[in-house]
Subunit: 251 residues, 2 copies
């Protein structure tokens, strides 16, 4: 039987700029080769200083308009606009695409788990962030682990957030079953499984969001898989994105 | 530290109508109180005979039109239409709402992992199905376990399928953080987490889809949570649904 052990790494301090997240985790968990470490994007961003005080944002006219429309702080809305490569929906909340391809509510800009009057941005290059943490873990522990940077996201059709992967290293995002057959020898119609999101989702389950949050989770014993890294739809493929973009932006 | 052990229950035979899925799993896994068992909807449906030969479907005009549009067997399209309470999108694939509230591609009708020329339907009442399996596991093992019925689904914005919960028993679907504070004492903005989908997603990771599939996965050691069961948006809340319904149905 396949058995995977999933451990929430507890006892991490509140992270500040300059903290070495990989070293702090490595001091609390003994890694094995093949382990997969999921870390919340917030702690990575805080360690790198991807945060700003709200007072640093001077709202543009668009930010003022959307702040009024959605009942939010215009400086916060400006932070969201600054973080966005493309706005897909303006109301009832801003949905936008980030420069690295992820589509997220309020561009993933977070006012939780940081001192009042500050915001946390997603890492500008989460793939590089995952590579970097992976390399550091290898230097500290001598072990070859996979790393996933996670964010908490809403979705269509279903209430409630789940964890998604926004950066990964040491694995491919999608398991590709193309050419595989099922129990009866038919070639499978479901051919692509978003493995990194299924890991990030359960990591998020373990992490929690509140004051007893655990921002690092390790999976031990996951079977390996092959596939590809094309996790994000292209604009032409994405029916929902096209419709939202067409209808939900004021002219 | 929180540690959860996740086990794929292997060695299950191919399931046929009349098989006792709970007994087959119970013979291969020793449950503890508080374990959460995820089972693939396909094996539950097969055990209950929620399958039909394609030859049983006489395509209507709409099925013939959509079969041509999407390049599918008209009898299969008719099976999808029969299983749907509401069609949300017709092309490039049918997206529909099932009577129990789930929105799924091709109404979750499956041609994989069943003998040629047959289709598997989702259980008509997956909440009742989860209750029933839970009760049976309790009778067999004397243990109080949670049960989740899973399905593999696509999503907006991101390529690849993930596992979702379509029925659950012994837990609430959504963890509700309302009123909780974060590390700095702010009241949290992210207040609802779809716990059952994060479990179903990682169960799907362990299950796989192909001929080495493992249709039952047990989580041991999950912390409990409180919240509610309103996993599905109402029609008015669901922006994506409204837009798809408006634009993607031929007039």
């Amino acid at each position: 039987m396949v058995t995977v052990t999933v451990t929430g790494v507890s006892g991490l301090p509140i992270i500040h700029k300059g903290d070495d997240v990989a070293a702090l985790i490595g001091a609390r968990y003994r890694f094995s080769d093949g382990d997969i470490l999921c870390i919340a994007s917030t702690i990575y961003s805080k360690s790198k200083g991807y945060t700003k005080p709200l007072s640093a944002f001077i709202p543009t006219e668009r930010a003022l308009r959307l702040a009024k429309l959605n009942g939010e702080d215009p400086r916060f809305v400006q932070a969201v606009l600054d973080a966005s490569a493309d706005i897909i929906m303006e109301h009832p909340f801003i949905l936008s695409e980030l420069p690295f391809g992820h589509i997220g509510v309020r561009a993933g800009v977070d006012q939780s788990n940081i001192e009042d009057g500050n915001v946390i941005f997603l890492p500008p290059d989460p793939m590089k962030a995952a590579d970097e943490v992976r390399k550091e873990i290898r230097e500290i522990s001598g072990r070859d682990v996979g790393v996933i940077i996670t964010d908490t996201c809403g979705r269509s059709f279903r209430r409630g957030q789940t964890g998604n992967a926004i950066g990964w290293s040491g694995m491919v995002a999608i398991r590709d079953f193309r050419g595989d057959t099922d129990l009866f020898g038919h070639v499978l119609k479901i051919t692509e499984e978003a493995m990194v999101d299924e890991l990030a989702g359960f990591a998020n389950f373990i992490m929690g969001e509140s004051n007893n949050g655990v921002p690092a989770v390790v999976f031990h014993g996951c079977p390996a898989w092959t596939g590809h890294d094309n996790l994000y739809f292209t604009k032409n493929e994405d029916i929902t994105r096209s419709l939202l973009k067409k209808e939900m932006i004021s002219k």
